[in-house]
Symmetry: C2
Subunit: 363 residues, 2 copies
Amino acid sequence: VGAAVGPRTLRRVGDRPTLRDVAAAAGVSRSTASNAYSRPDQLSRTVRDRVLAAAVELGYPGPSPTGSALRRGHTGALAVLLGDRLGYAFSDPAAVLTLDGLASAVEPAGTALLVLPGAARASGPAPDGVRRAVVDAVVAYSLSDDDPAVAAVRSRGLPLVAIDQPRLSGVPAVVVDDAGGARSAAEHLLGLGHRRIAVAALELATDEVTGLADQERQSATRFPVTADRLAGYRTTVEAAGLDWAAVPVHECARNTREEGAAAFAALRPHRPTAILAMSDELALGVLRAATAAGLRMPEDVAVVGFDDTPAAQRAGLSSVRQPLYDKGWHAGRQVLALLAGAPIDPVTLSTELVVRRSTDTTQ
Amino acid sequence: VGAAVGPRTLRRVGDRPTLRDVAAAAGVSRSTASNAYSRPDQLSRTVRDRVLAAAVELGYPGPSPTGSALRRGHTGALAVLLGDRLGYAFSDPAAVLTLDGLASAVEPAGTALLVLPGAARASGPAPDGVRRAVVDAVVAYSLSDDDPAVAAVRSRGLPLVAIDQPRLSGVPAVVVDDAGGARSAAEHLLGLGHRRIAVAALELATDEVTGLADQERQSATRFPVTADRLAGYRTTVEAAGLDWAAVPVHECARNTREEGAAAFAALRPHRPTAILAMSDELALGVLRAATAAGLRMPEDVAVVGFDDTPAAQRAGLSSVRQPLYDKGWHAGRQVLALLAGAPIDPVTLSTELVVRRSTDTTQ
DNA sequence: CTGAAAGCGCTAACAT
DNA sequence: ATGTTAGCGCTTTCAG
């Protein structure tokens, strides 16, 4: 190792200047140049101006985020794991509202969201994407419990917060009382006298199957939200003395109105007088298809959705309200707490049935 | 500088192991340990297995993305600059479709999207967020030309691709023929005999103002999309011999149906027989408010939207179709090309008027 | 208020 | 096929 002369005295043309060059040009040490950016109070106005002027002179683009991330030990970003490609995930207003809450919660801390959408032929994001993500923490949004992406997060040892995924041991989660919400929806229909009930369900497995789901498939689901809502429907229906096996459950591979409409078409031969839809998007599809078929709501068929999105409110759809924005917001606070080493208080949010025209003629 | 003993022989409890530790435990060099992860073909099965076993043994979480990003010189992420907070930006299906295309284009390259939503009281993202973003490139989505976030990108010298923002000099852009689309919409209405036309406009400035916009405000807009669509309307109206000053232009601070409905309420006193809406979301709001007011479409008032989103198609709204997914996809390809140092071919996509019930009784 | 020293964790030439 | 060497760009004690 040589004398005081640094290893890089010469700089090729085309290389971008670094803080080292700025420091040299300004005639200060590297630490002082660094402070000019990140701790302005640590130097005199004069020196700071000199450094900044040198930076401008050299065309220095400011401290490299990658360099400072390595040094500081954090990146200022948060990965969000989605179960679908962007176009599908964000076509659900419930997801958008939730992520809006998440973004708003972490924004004051200057944290950005690295979105990892679901991979083409899988449910969650590609595990490799998770392994390479330059982030400080991860939020998983409504994935299957056995999603490989979640496993990748855990093996990286990244702080993880789950939304709509209560079943991950040792992972802080923001949870909604899905079972309770589903029960209240079912009780509402039963209370109205409906006995021929059908279900339009969210996906039960990651195999992109659409169609009637038998008992086995129903109980095998690894999607906590789906499982809980289904359980809520079932216990209520059985408590009313009805046979669950007689209740047709149509699984929709995607949470879209198109699939909801298809669900109605598939369920119609069973002559249901009421349909429990696991999301408002599905319910809106059911509504559309039923209306197109000339049926009246709620006289010919009653529908209850889930989420209570703005679109559902506009459409007069009875639905189970859940605090979507708050759900994301709490998840954001949990991430921040986790990152700060603070204790996490688990959050469970409650649901509430909102009755509208789709089930009640008096509304 | 001492002998062969590295500076860090001791490791405190709680520290996470690094590649150095794995290499030591496996009895190989650091580069070999590194290769075990990123270039498996560079070492024998035996050695690789030994390294991986040591990693498991030590609880090594895999190579740190930050470390490798610094060394490799790229991060595998792409910033997306949005003009609004997440909840608003993604409530527009047109934006979602565009970003879906973008995500799909870069996904094969393993590139993730770092979303930077608009800051609270501004139009674009906080410039500081841009400065700290650990990304290789940036995509700006429909921002104002003078957005500070865009300036921050340029001063960082990051590769930038603009969507719906043709006016940035030296920046590759994916552009839609907004003016042409707007012209065809206006020509359509004029051809139908409408003479009392009103406009429901997207935001003209970043001051969150809703209301009638005078000529000065109209021509001062720095939002290229808004400017182009407005210009298209105007030239067509004037070419028909009408006075543009007599055309009421209601500016909507946000691209939502609520604002569209408010626009209709504000425009109604002007007794328009036809309304040009700058987006389908606005048009859908106009439609809703007009219907609620007991007006029939298109007899009492005709409406043409812009974007041709799925919701517009369902609603029977005449609209100017633009290839939303493709727009994002091309932007993604441009980013990839930019990153690869390949030449960029500029992309301009065309629009097409789709006539439906909202303007044509025969549809 | 400023500077010297050390190293965050990794990988890519290059040599063996 | 494996090891040696060097350094990506930055920040932060700590000493003056």
